[in-house]
């Protein structure tokens, strides 16, 4: 792409799951780059393979029944798909870390939050108990938790959802990873808390220059946080563009649908609003994937015969803007 080399580069990634009736490709042909210090949004409905992408990068795909069937994931040139288990454990939490969706269940209930934050540094940097505790307090302060010296001794059930997600962020960032994967970090939180968490993530990113992969289904969140967006559908990338470009000029009917189905607040509430659009139908189940043709065709209002027979290849419509849709060819030909 541009001159700087990507910190994380995913190329032709394929993930397969063994199902009762054969093999399902839940991720196919997925390629994207993450630049240093960039926030990349990955959007799509539930079941589009967003979380599976995150798990693949961490090499946490449950296997069996899953497996990374092909492609490469390069962290600064090092292929994670081929890395040894020992190496992967060194990378996890240290160079790439992850924040999960559910702050209520992603902290271990039997340890204090301080112990859990300290755990990461003790695993990777071999700090003493005391030093690790000091680091935990420092991290709690960094994620704006009040009275960190006291909170460090608390158990997860004593904290609110927003606080727990802050603790998760503290855990993920203690070792100053180069890549942070945030898998729907605020889906389970109140909207107000959600805004706080994003503010925090943005601040911390500025301080640490960590590149973030932000997985969400919320276009509003993308608009606020991301510089670039990858839209996924049924395990494939359908569109990849800078955020403004995607929001103002979405090319793929699926991207258009995702944007059109978000209600907007308006400055003057009485003004007539555009009707809220929905995308008819649902994401195909994994066993229906890989039948040939564009997987979105059954739900697409503009689907043509060609869409049902052939998979559209990604084509570049503007600098840094890729779309996989036959409509692009149509408009070009016209």
């Amino acid at each position: 792409m541009n001159t700087p080399s990507p910190i994380l580069s995913v190329a032709d990634l394929a993930v397969e799951f063994d199902m009762r009736d054969g093999v399902a490709r839940v991720i196919d042909d997925l390629s994207f780059d993450l630049m240093p210090g960039e926030t990349l949004g990955i959007v799509g409905e539930s079941g589009c393979g967003k979380s599976m992408t995150a798990l693949s990068i961490m090499r946490l795909v449950p296997m069996p029944p899953g497996r990374i069937a092909g492609g490469e994931i390069r962290l600064d040139g090092e292929n994670l798909v081929a890395a040894s288990d020992v190496r992967i454990r060194e990378i996890r939490g240290n160079e790439i870390s992850m924040i999960f969706q559910e702050p209520m269940t992603s902290l271990n209930p039997v340890y204090t939050v301080g112990d859990q934050i300290a755990e990461t540094v003790r695993l990777h940097e071999g700090l003493s108990k005391r030093d690790a505790r000091d680091r935990a307090i420092e991290m709690l302060r960094a994620v704006a938790i009040p009275a960190p010296e006291a909170r460090v001794e608390e158990y997860p059930h004593q904290l609110s959802g927003g606080m727990r997600q802050r603790v998760m962020i503290a855990m993920a960032l203690t070792c100053r990873p180069r890549v942070l994967i945030a898998d729907e970090p605020t889906t389970a939180l109140d909207v107000t808390v959600q805004a706080q968490i994003f503010d925090l993530l943005r601040d911390l990113k500025e301080q640490t220059q960590t590149a973030i992969i932000l997985i969400t289904h919320d276009m509003g969140v993308i608009a606020e946080m991301a510089q670039r967006v990858v839209v996924m559908y049924a395990g494939r990338k359908v569109e990849d563009a800078p955020v403004d470009e995607l929001l103002l000029n979405p090319k793929h009917p699926y991207s258009q649908g995702l944007i059109a189905c978000v209600p907007h607040l308006q400055a003057v509430p009485t003004v007539e609003r555009p009707p809220l659009m929905e995308i008819p139908g649902v994401v195909p189940s994994v066993s229906e994937l890989g039948r040939g043709g564009c997987p979105f065709a059954p739900r697409c209002a503009q689907a043509m015969d060609r869409c049902r027979q052939q998979m559209p290849p990604p084509s570049t419509v503007a600098p840094g803007h890729q779309v996989a849709c036959w409509l692009i060819d149509e408009t070009r030909a016209a």
Binding site: M58, L60, P64, I88, R89, E90, I91, R92, G93, N94, S97, M98, F100, Q101, E102, T105, S106, L107, N108, P109, V110, Y111, E119, T120, L123, H124, A144, I145, P146, A147, A150, R151, E153, E154, Y155, Q158, S160, G162, M163, M168, M171, V191, T192, A195, Q196, D199, L200, D203, M219, G220, A223, E224, L247, I259, V262, H264, L265, Q266, A267
Partner: protein
């Protein structure tokens, strides 16, 4: 495109006030729940008395339970023998006091063996799944279908009956239930988010099994350990009843077994050891029940 009308808030809004709720350690909370349960407290007191008797009894009442001290089958109260004598004229109170040692030692040791084997098998099977689980669970099933008392008798007979062999025999025949319980807990917890989280910070398998999942699986396993003690005590009594006991150590089960033919002439010689066994198992079960309530997360929610 954002959900907000106004430009994003200037500074991060203040969180909650700097108020920190009082920290209560989980074990303290468990104790509070346990102490609320009167039956469990009663069990704890009862067990303490029995343990005290086992530890201090021989010093306070120095009498050899195997010595013939008076006329056989003297009823309770005769000549200062509070519980009377058995068919050979041995002091029953001394027997009860010394017998508590065998009972408690075997009960605790056998329960420990049960729990250790059970957790080891269940944890590995539940965590690793696949062929490990397949193999370990087939072995578990093999042990499950063997008649436990018979197997224990064979084991004790093969190796001469001592406290060690009896404990091992009881442990070996009764670990299967714990293994199944541990496996079920591991199967459940391994899928939880914080286990994924532990993996995502680079923890290795052994760490996840013993330091992440096991502490979370502990409550039902602790309860099952308490019940395992009760079962082991009954087992020990049963084996001693059949004279498969350590001949150098007096045992309640042996007292009942050896006095059984004379039950019509001297009811007390079988009744008092029977009551002792009953009370001990009762105490352990009440404690187990109390732990069950105290450790149950659903009941613990305030």
């Amino acid at each position: 495109m954002t959900d907000q009308v106004e430009p994003s808030a200037p500074a991060a809004p203040k969180l909650e006030p700097d108020f920190v709720p009082e920290v209560e350690k989980p074990w303290l909370q468990t104790w509070r729940m346990f102490a609320k349960n009167r039956a469990a407290l009663f069990g704890l007191v009862l067990l303490s008395v029995i343990v005290g008797m086992a530890v201090l009894g021989p010093t306070l009442y120095p009498a050899d339970p195997y010595d013939i001290v008076w006329a056989p089958q003297s009823p309770p109260g005769t000549e200062g023998f509070i519980l009377g004598t058995d068919y050979l004229g041995r002091d029953l109170l001394a027997g009860i006091i010394y017998g508590s040692r065998a009972t408690l030692i075997v009960g605790a040791a056998a329960a420990l063996i049960t729990i250790v084997i059970g957790i080891l098998v269940g944890a590995l099977a539940g965590y690793y799944r696949g062929w490990v689980e397949e193999l370990l669970m087939r072995i578990t099933e093999f042990f499950q279908v063997l008649p436990p008392l018979l197997l224990a008798m064979v084991l004790v007979l093969l190796f001469s009956p001592t406290l060690v062999t009896i404990s091992i025999a009881i442990g070996v025949v009764s670990w299967t239930a714990t293994a199944r319980l541990a496996r079920a807990e591991f199967l459940r917890i391994r899928e939880l988010e914080y286990v994924k989280g532990a993996r995502s910070i680079g923890a290795r398998n052994s760490r996840i099994i013993w330091l992440v999942i096991l502490p979370n699986a502990a409550p039902p396993l602790i309860v099952s350990a308490a019940f395992a003690v009760g079962i082991a005590i009954l087992f020990e009594a049963g084996l001693s009843f059949l004279e498969l006991n350590d001949p150098n150590i007096m045992s309640w089960g042996y007292m009942i077994g050896s006095n059984r033919p004379y039950v019509l002439e001297s009811w007390w010689a079988v009744t008092f050891p029977g009551i002792a066994i009953f009370l001990t198992v009762l105490a352990v079960s009440l404690i187990g029940d109390g732990l069950n309530d105290a450790l149950n997360p659903r009941l613990r929610q305030r």
